[in-house]
Amino acid sequence: MAAHKPITPATYSIVYVALLLLTTLTVFISEYVDTGAYEIAVALTIASIKTLLVALIFMHLYYSGPLVWLSGGAGVLFLAIMMSLFLLDYNTRDWTPGRNEQPIVTSKDQGYLPRRDH
């Protein structure tokens, strides 16, 4: 493991307190604040901040070499690929080509020419 100056208990303590505060915040928001459709976004954002704190400080990521960043990053990146494509599928199931277009109709008085703007 990369050798670096040990992080002091003081730093750890500050981060710890921050984590507790963020936890309280996220519970508070979920109980008392109406975030409507952004509920997931808010919750995940706070969770991500907490994760960054744990990863950077508790797991020493801040002081680690590029290889470690790469490993973690790769994991997250591929997870993102997996999730986004899965959700892409499920959220676009009802998309068919031409769904937003008006149907083509013809009529005798239009000379049987196909028109959409009727």
Binding site: M1, P6, I7, T8, P9, Y12, S13, V15, Y16, L19, L20, T23, T24, T26, V27, S30, E31, D34, G36, E39, I40, A43, L44, I46, A47, K50, T51, V54, A55, I57, F58, M59, H60, S71, G72, A74, G75, V76, F78, L79, M82, M83, F86, L87, Y90, N91
Partner: protein
Amino acid sequence: MFLATEILFFGGLFTAYAVMRTLNPEAFSLASYKLNAVLGGLNTAILLTSSFTMALAVWAAQTKNQSLLRLFLGLTLFFGCFFLVIKAYEWHHEYEVGLLPGKNFGYAAHGHDHAHADDKHMSDHAHDHNQASSPGAVAARQITVTDRDGKTPLTPDKLKGLQMAFLFYFMITGLHATHMVVGISVMGIHWVWTFFYPRFGVDDYTPIEVSGLYWHFVDVVWIFVFPILYLLRH
């Protein structure tokens, strides 16, 4: 690098959860509502504390202070176990009110509608022998799990979605708990070794650091699990 594989391992489960949630949004919200956010939040705080003490344990190993290392490892173990105890209590409660997926989902554990293995056998017998007797006797069980208002029992349709949500709840927290047990065992062994090998952990702090990374990862997973499972309740 190993942790990257763990990200994908849990990630697969989370992705499946995301898909299921997309398909059953109200059921999953209801499931969140039924979970106890206070207990979940307390557990989060406990796990964060254990991460804190773990980080301090690594610091103690780095600064070659074995007695402090022993102290902080011990505290981490204590908080880890505390987490598991609360989790077990939650699970027991969920079983009691009928939220454990399976054939008894929706029925409280000690009501007269709770099916046991031998009940089915008996009711089969009854059915065989008493063709003419009231079929209603073994039919309609009273669903005891209620909707948000706390009063109306859920319809079987809604129950289906809810069962899916709780299936994922148990799978995700179960997988997480299994990882915690592994972590506790390994750290427990390390902790015992600090008593028998006076220089363990301070000569080479790598084992402590590696366990620490694993433990923090398990904590990170919970940091995501908690809001997703417990807090998205509207």
